[in-house]
Structure formats: structure tokens, C-alpha cells
């Protein structure tokens, strides 16, 4: 998995990596985002994972907005770069839409 991503990352590196999502949670498919988040992010961002455990309620909507304003600042920017714009938007929709101060905070799952 990691290997596949890194190959993709090399390919993607030729593209300009600055997918800034500006619309407040709109446009993306949060349900798809949930699936993608689990598939791509949670392999590291989980309890006892290699990165900090994350779920939508780990941050406020404003905090998620900051994250997605410039994902090139993230440690895992290479992995992000491997995702399509649509997928990124979907993940953003999920995290933003179920953030801890959102109207529908995610239950601990």
C-alpha cells in the first residue's frame, strides 16, 4: 500500500501540489469521504498507529479548514498528492462535516 502510494507520489510530484479546498464542506461526498478516510488515512492515523489517531471530531471545523487550506504543509503531503482532487474534497467533506463543533459530530468509530 505504502509502496503503491509512493510510486504515485513520484508521478504526482510533477503536478503542482496545492489543492486548497476553500468551499465550506460543499461539493464533496462525505460518505465517500468516510470510506476514503478509512482506507487511506487511518492506516497511520489510528490508535497505536504511526501517526496521531484522527477522526472528524479530533478538530473543529475551523481547524479542519486550516488543514485543508494548504495540505502541502502536512507531513503526509506526498500521500495526499496521490489522491485525486475529488477524493480530497470527499475526505474534506467528511472531516469538516462531522467535526467536533459541527451540527452532526461523528460518533466514535
Amino acid at each position: 500500500m505504502v509502496k503503491r502510494l509512493s510510486i504515485l507520489a513520484i508521478v504526482m510530484a510533477f503536478l503542482v501540489v496545492s489543492i486548497g479546498v476553500t468551499m465550506a464542506g460543499e461539493g464533496g461526498n462525505a460518505r465517500k469521504g468516510k470510506y476514503l478516510f478509512r482506507k487511506t488515512c487511518r492506516s497511520c492515523h489510528m490508535a497505536d498507529g504511526s501517526a496521531k489517531e484522527l477522526s472528524p471530531v479530533s478538530k473543529t471545523q475551523a481547524d479542519w479548514q486550516v488543514v485543508f487550506d494548504d495540505i502541502s504543509k502536512l507531513q503526509c503531503k506526498d500521500e495526499w498528492a496521490a489522491l485525486s482532487e475529488k477524493d480530497t474534497k470527499d475526505i474534506y467533506s467528511y472531516l469538516y462535516g462531522h467535526a467536533f463543533d459541527s451540527p452532526s459530530p461523528a460518533k466514535c468509530k
Binding site: R38, R42, P103, S104, A106
Partner: protein, 730 residues
Amino acid sequence: MPETKTKMMSRRKFLQMSGALAAATAVADPCRVLYALTKVAGENDPARIKEVFSACDMCFNKCGLIAQVENNVIRKLDPNPKSLKSRGMLCARGNAGVKQLYDPDRLKYPLLRKGARGEGKWMRLTWDQALDHAAEQLDRIGKEYTRCGFLFMAGTDMQSTFVHQFAEAYGSYNVISHESNCLLSRNRAFLDTYGVMPTPDVLNCKYVIMPGANRFEAIVTPDSMDLMSAKAKKSKLVVLDPRFTKTAAFADEWYPIKPGTDMAFFLAIAHVIIAEELYDKTFVKEMTSGFEELREHVKQYTPQWAQVETDIPARDIKRIARELAAAAPSAMVYPGRRSSDYEDSTQIRRSYAIVNALLGNWDREGGLLVPKKVKPGSMHIEAPFYEDNPDDRVDAGRAQMMFDEEGSFKHTRDAVIEGKPYPIKGWMTYKTNPMQTGANRDKTIEMIHKLDFMMTVDIAMSDTAWMADLVLPAPSYLERQDPLSAFLASSTCSGVITRDPVVPAMFESKPVFWIVKELAKRLDLGEFFDFTVDDFRKAQLKKIPEVAKALKEDGVYNVSGPSFGLHKGKPFKTRSKKIELYNTRYRDKGIDPMPVYNKPKVIPKNYFRIVVGRNAYITQSASTNNSLLWELEKENKLWIHPKPAANLNINDNETIIVKSSAGKVTIKARVTKETRPDTVYMDTGYGVLSKGLTNIFGKGACIAEVLEDKADKISGNMAMHETLVTVSKA
């Protein structure tokens, strides 16, 4: 190889079951059989009785219990004094749990409908036949109508999480809980004010206003007991309720408030507290946002104005406001539980939340506390994504701010009937009974007729099971292994409880975990249920190993310790990071950012408002057929005040007709001053269609049949107090 294994298993199961069946025959006359058993074992040998921990499931509270087991028969359920939530109590329903287990009306094996829906003609199936049939339907409907064409609904149960996981693996996000017929508007209001649902510290509170909550009858542990303990400490209790409930009987002051006007009362309370500068100024400044807007907003809501709306004298409103403020921060407006009453229920509950904020009782002794539940781990399901699924839930957009993971029964039902935005053709219910608890029963029936396939997993033949195509028998809580479940117990503690089988499962009943696992196997989704309840528990216990020991030794895990002063300047989980007196998200969505009072509709002459409620021995429709409880109330009656009863020439105990736009029922009258002259009431859980509930069949009336189905605009919660009825002699 696996087949041989199954066969061996079933043979052993059969042997176990024959023992269980012997116990089941004992049901017919438990006295004699149990008596005989005691004779054999010797009266005074304490060792003859084995004690097993469990958690009650006769309502949602999960009180701790210790089963007294004799020769594999549960003789009695005793309270577990170690549970700091239930504090050594078990209510009438808890004690009647043995009758849920040893009930001749239990579902015994899988049943397939043979006649028309609701006709009551059934054919017995083997489990394999039943599961194959269900899997076939799930597969077909998923393919034909997308996975979202199958709806799932599970009640408040420790295994409901497996139904949700199954829905996720199967690929439907049309999952609804019972909660949208209950308390979602309350949760919505407090979440949108405090960012969490606080827990009320009734025990240490000096002044409690209880609007429309009936804590001495609708028992919530430990609040019900705490309220009595607080009373002994001379705490003051003010009850607002159109009915003279048993809670009202214990109140220092009872106001038979005009139904639907609670918001007017609390806006006037806010008016007095602000106008007379009685609010906690430091708290309001540091912890809340939108105070200036609120000050302006409530200027119009004077006590004199509220008197006209509520029927509560202005001088009392003023006095109560002052008394509340004087007792603050150890004073509260009790948030309540069931809030499925009006179309603006969320806004009504917002007014409670706002008054609490003015009192500055957040995180203080006797106030609203930070909920600090123990968080067991969980087992993640890496559910697949089905690209052909529609974008959203079927009820999406029908309420302004619905909880995505709860949904709305009312709106989902409407969507199924309309077939819009997309058709739903399958429905699985587990231990929930919307036929009785969802307002407007005819519409639920209409919804069911739109389906290709409906399956129900339950312990007895509820009205919902009665309408299903496939009925699968589940064991009672005393016969199964459950995952861990965390609970909150007011100021005292939080904790964890679980269940292991006290006795082997009777008949052919199977836990819903096993059922969804078997269905998953048949649907090629087996990988998502490649675990046992034990594995699930292990995952839950991973970070909290100390819990396992406590559960083994005490039957419950409690964490006590300081319960207030925990918040310590952390930001609130709201947009403004403060308590939102003024909610900007509401404003942005075109919702009133502060509660705006709308008059309830005027009750025309010869009409009554019908309200929903509880008593201490009824859990909606789940307990009325239990023979131990049925003996306490064999049929429900319509409470009607003597004045209108005299006008209508209706005598006590006389058979009458209650009619609304939704339906018409026949019921006996209970003429009593315990309700307002403009308000009538009946208990839930009678007037059943199911002939499988032999005690209550043909007794009383079903309130869901006359309730119209309005919804809270914001949360989509059912609004059950918006119905006006006429009453006449039969």
C-alpha cells in the same frame, strides 16, 4: 467439514435446549415448579442458589442486577448494589424481567408470513431457510434499488451496534434509531448551545425546575433517586406539567401549564433574570456568546405576557426567577429526556438551555455537568463503498438540522411512502416497535405496504413483527452475551456494564449478532464479521483493562471522583467556542438564532390536546404484555377532567371514542382532576394488532393510532403533542 461441525453443534444445542424447554414448560405454573425445585435442594442451603451479574434491559437504563439462579432457572432478579448508577434498586419492570424470559408469548422459531400482511398466518422455517430467504431479499433489493433501498432500524440495545455495522458493510446509510421518536430535539438544543449534552447533577441541586419531565414515573437512574435524596436535603422542586403526575405530587409547586407554552415561561424567566440583573455576570461574560442579543430579544417576553400564554401567574414567574437566581449555581432547568412533543421542540429546549447558562450552573455542583463517559475502544469495520448508491439518506433535507447517524423515523416513513427521492423496498427492524411508538399508525402500515420485504428480529410478536414478512426470534437479555456498554450516572460516576448469558438461550432464539453474521456470510460480506462478541469485547477493553476485573468481581465498573470543576476554561465544542445564547449557525441556515415564541394552536370548543407520557411500570410498548406488569395495568384509559366529562356526559370507566384526523380509537374513560380540562392523556402500549401478545390483545387503545405525525422542524424528531382530538360516548 464445517457442516459436520454445525451438526455437532446443533445436536449439543438441542440437548441444551431440551433443558431449556423443560424450564419453558415451567412457565405455565412457575410457582409450582420452582417450589418443587426448592424442595429438592433443601430450604436453607444458600449454596443452592448461584448468583450471576447482568444488566437490566427492561428499559434503556441498564441498571445493574444479580440473577438468583437455581438449577439453571432464574428464580429472581435482585438489584446489584455495586452499580453506582442504579444504587441497589430494580424497579417493577426490572423485577418483571424474569417474565420476559419465561414468557409463553415469546417468539420461538423463525416465522414466514403466509397470509396477507398483518393477517397473522405464519409458517415455521428452519434458521437456514430463514437466513437464506433474508439474504436473497437483501441481495435482490440491493441490486435492484441500490443498497440504500434497504432500511435498518434498531432500538436502544447493546447489540444494536452490530445491526449498524451490518448496514454499513451491506452499504446502506438509511439507518434510523428509536431516538427520533424520543429525545433528539433535546440533544439538538443542548448540543447547539453547549456543544455537548450535559448531565444534570440533581443530587446536589437546591432548586430544580422540571418542565414536562416526569422523573418519578419515567424512571432514569440515578436521577429519580437523586431527586428524592435532594428532597430530603430540602431542595426545591417546581414541576410544570398539564398532568398531575407522581412527580407533580412530590413537587413543592406544581403548575398545570398550558401545553405547548413552556418556552413562554422560560423566556419570561430569562426576561426577569436579565432585567433584574440576577444572572451570573462573570460567567455570562466569559463563557457565553450573544448575551446582548439575548437581552434585547427577551425584553418583549414579560411575566405578564407569559401569564396569558402559560396560565401561570406573573407573580409566580417573577418569584421563581428570583428564587432560581438566588439558589444559582446550584439551580437548574432540568433538561428532561423525551422531547418529541412540538414542532419547535428544539427551540423550546433551547430556552431551557439558555436559562441554565444565565444561572452559570455549568460544571458546578448542583448544575449541568460535563459528561465524562468511559470510552471503550471499538472494532472498526472497513466498509466497502458502493458507487451506485445515492448521495444521501432518503430523509435528507426534510429537517433543517437532522442528526446524520440517527435520521428521522417520521421523515423516512414519508419518503418511503412517496418513493422519493428514491425507493426503499426493504426494512429490517431489531427490538424497536415503531408501529406503537411512531405517531400515526396508519401511515406506518402504509409504509410497510410499500415494501417488498420486511424482517423483524425481536423477543415477542410486537405489532411491528406482526406486520413483517419474516420474524426472527431473539433471546432476552438474560440469555446472551453482549458487548460492553458505557453509562453516565449524573454527578456520581460513569461506568461500564456488560452481559453474559445467565441461562442458555431458550427455544430457537438467536442473538442479532449471530443473525447479521450469518447474513453477512451469505452475502459475501463475511470478512466484516470475522470476529466473535468476545473479540469485540477485547477490542473494547484494550485501553481499559481494569474494567474487565471490575466486571468480573462486581458486575459493574464505576469511576467516581470529582464531577464538577472539570471544564477548566477549555473551549466549548461550538462554533464560537462558547455557550451559544445566540446561535450563528442557526442564523446562517435561516433558523431563529434565539428561541422565538409561537403560540400553540388554539384548542377549539369540544376539542382536547392529547399528550404522551409514562408511568413507572410501562416502557412504551415493550413491557405492557409482560404478565407481571400487565397485572398492574390491564388496559389503558383516557384521562379526562371531570368538567368536560360532565359536559360530554361521560362517566368514569365508560367506553368512549377518541378521534383525530389520524384515526379513531375506543377506550374507557378515567375521569380525574389529574389533567387539565383542555388536555387528555393515555398510556402507550395497548390496543395492539398482534394476536401474539395474548395478555393485552383486545385491551385499551393504541395512542399511535390517534397521534398525528408532525415533526420538530430543526431535528426531525416526531412531534407528538400537536394532535387535537374529540371525545364522545361510544
